[in-house]
């Protein structure tokens, strides 16, 4: 039997031309607990719904046990879903809800016969009342709701409804159980309990679980494999430890747990430069002097005496907060550019102290930057005016009007305005990562171009801002079209 139970190949999904999932490929092994993790709107639920069959991918294929099920309607798929808001039928009681799937099920009646063409035919029958009752009671027992069969679903608490929803899905003995943020509506304590219970169920039943959540802790606790998604693109696939210890990029590092994300330069193999300090690390294979992101987990930073020979860099303590099992220290490093870092250690220090910092070479996690400059296309509108992203920017150019141009703007040349009206175009902050001494934002314009912006001031996610760019900071380069492209344009 095929080891991969579900396989998604090059899945794309768009709603009225707005892409939600972009070229997603994923294999899920039999018996795995896989979690799709990401912020809201990252396409994780859409991906789950495509596995369940409620959505059809715009392009790409879904395989189940090696069979193409892309076109198969949900009721023919051997998987069941636990819905976000449980979706328990209000007109049926608990028993009726759990029995719903069983009453529709056909099973072999155990007497295969040979028809006149010589094929062995298996006659199918429905489950008997007694069988259904037995199965439902067993399912109720599994979720600790033995005496609740006759109760109306609306009379149950959130946690109990959750259990009924799980029982209703599991009673059909699916090969894969899909869970769409099932614990989202529960309070913290109940959520923790249910996490453990779900893990136990997964272990006991041995079936595949595909779990969707935006809660990184939940994902780290429960999963065998985590798929981190952002904007419809998989950022990283790996075990919880791998995702936590070796995040693939700044987004994953920031989303999973607390971390220090700093900008640096890879001087040569095994050597990284952060704000003028050179550190030994274990990464290689980067271009010489390539700008990179460095991630250091707070618990990987050790506080030492500034005169200690282990001391790599000195820092001034800004705050020190007791957190039960550790102290959380924020400190400002000394150097060309001063970076603010967070340290988790069990030494108490005082504000204003100068401390030494030691980090093992292994704990510098070096990642390629996802982008080093904003590049987009536009058109010269008029003398010294260029049009892109639905706005007209002043610029310095000698190119004639209507020339198609490639525009490049540096991260720190994009100015953000509190008042949307003050900018040339409006945009929404969709990502904010603190990089020690400044914030790196991703701001999305209304026609879906993402600007990377380095800025000293703090905005929160989903803030509306205005984008302004100084005329001399816009670098234009005419796009030379090949003849073929020109022809295409004329045809269009």
């Amino acid at each position: 039997m095929n080891e991969n139970i579900i396989e998604l190949r090059n899945i794309n999904k768009s709603y009225s031309d707005k892409p939600v999932v972009k070229n997603l490929s994923l294999t899920i092994k039999r018996g795995e607990f896989v979690t799709l993790l990401g912020p809201s709107g990252c396409g994780k639920t859409t991906t789950l719904r495509m596995i369940a069959g409620f959505e059809q991918p715009t392009s790409g294929k879904v395989y189940f046990n090696g069979e193409d099920i892309t076109e198969l309607p949900p009721h023919k798929r051997a998987l069941n879903t636990v819905f976000q808001r449980y979706a328990l039928f209000p007109h049926l009681n608990v028993f009726g809800n759990i029995a719903y799937g069983l009453k529709l099920k056909f099973v072999p009646n155990g007497e295969p016969y040979t028809d006149k063409n010589g094929n062995t035919v298996q006659k199918m029958r429905k489950l008997t009342k007694a069988e259904i009752t037995d199965k439902v009671n067993a399912a109720l027992k599994m979720v600790d709701l033995e005496d609740y069969g006759h109760r109306a679903v609306n009379s149950l608490s959130g946690g109990q409804q959750q259990r009924v929803a799980i029982a209703r899905a599991l009673v059909n003995e699916p090969q894969v159980l899909l869970l769409d943020e099932p614990l989202g509506a529960l309070d913290l304590k109940m959520r923790k309990d249910m996490q453990i219970e779900l893990m136990q169920m997964h272990e006991k039943l041995g079936i595949t679980f595909v779990y969707v959540t935006h809660d990184q802790e939940e994902a780290l606790t429960m999963s065998d494999k985590i798929v981190v998604m952002k904007d419809g693109v998989i950022q990283q696939i790996g075990t919880p430890t791998k995702i936590y210890d070796e995040p693939a990029n700044a987004f994953v590092a920031d989303f999973i747990g607390e971390s220090n994300i700093l900008s640096g330069v890879m001087v040569k193999d095994f050597c990284v430069d952060i704000s003028g300090h050179k550190f030994e690390c274990v990464d290689k294979g980067f271009k010489r002097n390539e700008p990179i992101d460095v991630i250091i987990r707070p618990e990987d930073i050790r506080i030492v005496d500034k005169n200690d020979k282990q001391c790599l860099v000195e820092a001034e303590v800004l705050t020190c907060v007791f957190k039960g099992d550790h102290y959380q220290v924020t400190a400002l490093t000394y150097g060309d550019e001063r970076n603010e870092i967070i340290i988790h250690d069990n030494v108490q220090v005082n504000c204003g102290d100068v401390i030494g910092i030691y980090i093992k070479p292994f704990d510098f996690h070096i990642m390629h930057k996802s982008r080093i400059i904003n590049t987009l296309e536009g058109k010269v509108y008029d003398e010294n005016i260029v049009e892109f992203c639905g706005g007209r920017f002043d610029c310095v150019t000698s190119l004639p009007a209507d020339t198609s141009v490639k525009i490049t703007v540096d991260f720190d040349d994009v100015e953000l305005m509190d008042d949307e009206e003050d900018g040339t175009i409006g945009a929404t902050i969709i990502s904010a990562i603190y990089k020690g001494s400044y914030w790196q934002y991703i701001v999305r314009t209304d026609d879906y171009y993402d600007f990377f912006v380095d800025n000293d001031y703090e905005w929160t996610l989903n803030d509306r801002v205005g984008i302004k760019i100084a005329p001399d900071k816009i670098v234009l380069e005419p796009i030379v079209k090949t003849e073929e492209e020109n022809k295409e344009n004329q045809d269009a």
Binding site: N80, A87, L104, N154, S155
Partner: protein, 265 residues
């Protein structure tokens, strides 16, 4: 000098309507009730009741016919209306225009509608009779069935349908075992809104059968408008009608209550 304070509370806004209600609903009802017990000679009598319930003038038969026609109309409306409401609710992107199309006839006075229906039948050389009456009834009351059904169906959470599909229900089973039970309240109000006016209708049957077939509403109309001395029997019939409507309403609200209780438990 002492000022007389005029107390004007919000309650006062209700007075005009209460007076209206008293004058044009309560008083006529009392008159009908009194008339029912008055004989031709103006004396207290039960003759009117005896005349009606002994079916001497065929009133009871007409009532039976009316109830049957009302039931059949409601049933046909439900059978036609439910799929319409279902598809309107399912493809709700473009349905606003379609919903409008279905309720558009309601904007035209029903007498005009019925008269034009008759004209169409005449032009097509179709014999007026029970069939044409049924057509007219269904045509008139269909929107009253579709609207409450549509409202209920639109409000059904789509996740219930997905849950049913997920549990192995094909399209028909989803409709039969999930959508239909969840839309029961809409069915009840649709049936109420169709059945009650359908049993008391008049004019439709008169126009669409060239006065050959009389329904209960027509009979009452006849007793009152002939200016004969049969106000008493007409009153009894009105009274019977009222009782039937009340019973129907109570039955419907009982079904709804039961649903509520069931889901609240």
């Amino acid at each position: 000098m002492r000022k007389v304070k005029f107390r004007f509370s919000r309650k006062a806004f209700a007075y005009p309507y209460m007076i209206f209600l008293l004058l044009f609903v309560v008083v006529p009802l009392v008159i009908v009730l009194i008339n029912a017990f008055l004989g031709d000679d103006g004396k207290l009598t039960f003759d009117n009741f005896i005349e009606f319930f002994s079916d001497a003038s065929g009133g009871l038969t007409v009532l039976g016919n009316s109830l049957i026609i009302g039931l059949v109309t409601t049933l046909i409306c439900l059978v036609i209306g439910y799929p319409v409401a279902y598809f309107l609710a399912k493809y709700h992107a473009s349905s606003k225009i379609f919903v409008l199309l279905f309720i558009l006839p309601m904007w035209v006075n029903f007498l005009i509608r019925t008269l034009s229906t008759k004209a169409i039948f005449m032009a097509l050389d179709i014999k007026l009779g029970m069939g044409t009456i049924m057509f007219g009834m269904v045509y008139n009351y269909l929107p009253y069935m579709i609207l409450p059904l549509h409202t209920t169906l639109v409000s059904i959470d789509h996740s219930y349908i997905e849950a049913a599909e997920d549990l192995g229900a094909d399209r028909f089973t989803v409709l039969w075992k999930t959508v239909l039970p969840l839309s029961l309240s809409g069915i009840v109000s649709g049936v109420t809104m169709t059945f009650i006016p359908a049993i008391s209708t008049f004019a439709i049957s008169e126009i669409l059968s060239s006065s050959k077939i009389f329904l209960f509403g027509d009979s009452i109309n006849m007793y009152f408008s002939k200016a004969t001395n049969s106000l008493g029997v007409g009153s009894v019939m009105s009274f019977v009608m009222l009782i039937i409507v009340i019973i129907a309403n109570v039955l419907m609200s009982l079904t709804e209550k039961k649903e509520e209780v069931k889901s609240a438990l």
